[in-house]
């Protein structure tokens, strides 16, 4: 080895090793989320981490993707998200299966990021896609599932999080009606979240088109009817259809009791070009970034030869974890002893529901306590005549003899 060369044994920028207890919590949250998706009939799919580069068309996502070449010199990329791969999967594999397809996933995705921007190159997403239905009831169903899922892992609306709902086609439809020449510039300004630019582009626009400036600023709780009432003033042509669609979604959400968690923002038009209708983002207090986002994308599957309407969302698990309250880990007993008796006792305790980590060699009590603390166990035990010597896993834990039949009760209590 030459002196002075850096050995690249660390993880690459933006990636990391995830260690217990964080890894345990991550997988636990993911499992609870997928369980909730199953409760709504969604079935998991797994797609390859590598896709042909042509599969992803969205410019922002292509730019952000890691690229590589296969043996035939075809360009591949590491999937930057799951919506497009699932659209491809549906078009290729589920052609003759009755719709709608209700599919879910919990998988890592990959994006190139700048160093120092506090972003990850690899992160976990869990989400659903409903493919093959145009019904606003399906949009509302996905939104309700997202809200329920966030609640099921411990967040409360509206104090912990809010789902911000918009309708891409409303502003677009309105602009096509009143200011077709300026439409693309205004949409670009709004996509960049630049309301100042929206005002700069619009001075030439007559007063009767005041919606150009007002629609992007229509924000308020979904329970407050005034936002929709103000929007009504601009509902003509395509915009009217879009607003009606939003009304129906809100009616479904109200029926499910989910309206309290929803905030309307008619300036929200979605981060990707493929969104065509209702779009939404979830924000949590104390976090500047979106926890989840989703929306309707009725034109994406056409590219894959199967023109099916679709809607779905993705939850960013690492971001969700950062706002979740800590959950107590299930108790763990470290059982110390290399004897056959110790092995038998471990099996017996596990069969009565006690999680047991068996150290099949002799450890002095102090070393065993130190070990138990390092693996975040709650108890340490040694086999003893008629039972166990049991201590809480804490510095200076005192061992007490406990009859075998009482061990499970003490550990699990």
């Amino acid at each position: 080895m030459q002196r002075g060369t850096t050995r690249k044994f660390s993880t690459t920028p933006g990636t990391r090793d995830i260690l217990p207890p964080e890894s345990t919590r991550l997988l636990d949250v993911q499992a609870r989320i997928l369980e909730r998706f199953r409760l709504h009939g969604f079935r998991e799919v797994i797609t390859p981490a590598l896709e042909y580069s042509e599969v992803v068309e969205e410019p922002k996502l292509r730019d952000a993707s890691f690229k590589l070449f296969d043996p035939d010199n075809q360009m591949l990329l590491l999937r930057p998200e799951m919506t497009t791969p699932i659209a491809r999967l549906v078009a290729q594999r589920l052609r003759n299966v009755p719709t709608p397809h209700k599919l879910s996933y919990g998988l890592p995705v990959y994006r190139r990021t700048g160093v120092g921007r506090g972003q990850s190159a690899e992160f976990h997403q869990a989400g659903v896609e409903v493919v093959g239905s145009r019904s606003p009831g399906e949009d509302a169903g996905a939104i309700a599932l997202l809200i329920e899922t966030l609640e099921s892992v411990g967040l409360r609306a509206p104090q912990d999080f809010v789902l911000v709902l918009g309708q891409t086609a409303f502003y677009e439809g309105y602009l096509r009606q009143v200011a077709p020449e300026a439409a693309s510039e205004l949409l670009a300004a709004l996509a960049a979240k630049d309301l100042v630019r929206v005002d700069e582009v619009s001075p030439d626009i007559p007063d009767e088109a005041a919606g150009v400036r007002e629609i992007p600023r229509l924000v308020g709780p979904a329970t407050d009817a005034s936002v929709m009432q103000r929007a009504e003033r601009y509902a003509e042509g395509e915009a009217a259809v879009a607003l009606e669609n939003l009304q129906e979604i809100l009616a479904h959400l109200d029926a499910g009791g989910h309206l309290d968690s929803v905030m309307l923002d008619l300036g929200l038009i979605g981060r990707h070009n493929y969104y065509t209708g209702a779009v939404y983002e979830v924000y949590a207090s104390g976090l500047g970034f979106t926890v989840a986002n989703g929306g309707r994308y009725d034109n994406l599957l056409r590219r894959f030869g199967e023109p099916l309407p679709a809607t779905g969302f993705a939850i960013s698990l690492e971001r969700l974890m950062s706002v979740l309250p800590d959950r107590e880990l299930p108790p763990l007993l470290v059982l110390v002893g290399g004897t056959v008796e110790a092995t038998r006792l471990a099996a017996q305790l596990r069969s009565s529901g006690v999680p047991v980590l068996h150290l099949a060699e002799d450890f002095a009590p102090e070393a065993a306590l130190g070990y138990a603390i390092s693996v975040e166990a709650s108890w340490v035990g040694y086999p003893a005549p008629d039972g166990m010597k049991l201590a809480r896993a804490e510095p200076g834990g005192e061992f007490e003899t406990t009859p075998t039949e009482k061990v499970a009760g003490r550990v699990l209590s």
Binding site: V162, V164, V219, Y283, L287, G288, F289, T290
Partner: protein, 213 residues
């Protein structure tokens, strides 16, 4: 709730920012109490004082709910934040400048698509400017005293911000082109804009009132 947390930039637009926030009823007097502190708590609002280029970072990450920063910084960094209002103050221009003696030479080099060396604090802005012209530039990023670069031969020209042009004149630099104009903007974190919309909207309304009056 302790009110909004506001990121205020040090330097040229500090006073303009204070005037705008004070005019909207925020307790900016606390910022004048002690010039060395970086974090202030007032009645109904908290303030962070940072370098202008760090304001969008605090806001994008949600460490501040709203902030005031020049459009030049937003153009350079393109942060993922809501840009809510043009305060109209702190006006300045992003310009391409070169030493008076060499101005013609530099203009000729640019028009012939030769590679020119440009010193700047705004590398993305400079790169986009030259790309938009279809011209080539070698961009050298500096963190201060740009005027020095062409005088000592580090670069042939500079891309920099100027309000009055005094520093340019003092260093015998002439403006070759105006790239953009900039004023101070009110920006908001995407989450805070929704989660605390009432407070943000109230601040916007109050600013509108005070600017008109």
């Amino acid at each position: 709730m302790s009110g909004l947390r506001v990121a205020v930039p040090k330097g040229a637009i500090f006073e303009d920012a204070l005037a705008a926030l004070g005019g909207a009823g925020l307790p900016v007097e606390v910022l004048r109490e002690n010039g060395r502190r970086l974090f202030y708590e007032g009645e109904g609002a908290e303030f962070i004082v940072s370098r202008p280029s760090d304001v969008p970072v605090f806001v994008e990450h949600g460490a501040a709910d709203v902030g005031i920063v020049g459009k030049d910084v937003l153009e350079e960094q393109r942060p993922n934040v809501m840009e809510l209002r043009d305060l109209g103050t702190g006006a300045c221009r992003m310009i391409l400048a070169a030493p008076k003696k060499k101005a013609e030479e530099v203009e000729r080099a640019i028009s012939h698509a030769e590679v020119v060396r440009v010193a700047t604090k705004f590398p993305n802005t400079a790169r986009r400017y030259f790309e938009s012209l279809g011209r080539q530039a070698e961009i050298i990023e500096l963190h201060g005293s740009l005027e020095l670069a062409p005088l000592v031969g580090l670069s042939e020209c500079i891309v920099d911000l100027t309000a009055t042009g005094t520093t340019l004149r003092e260093n015998d630099l002439v403006v070759l082109d105006e790239i953009s104009r900039s004023t101070a903007r009110l920006i908001a974190n995407r989450g805070a804009y929704r989660l605390r919309h009432e407070e943000v909207a109230a601040l916007l309304d109050a600013m509108r009132g005070s600017l008109r009056g």
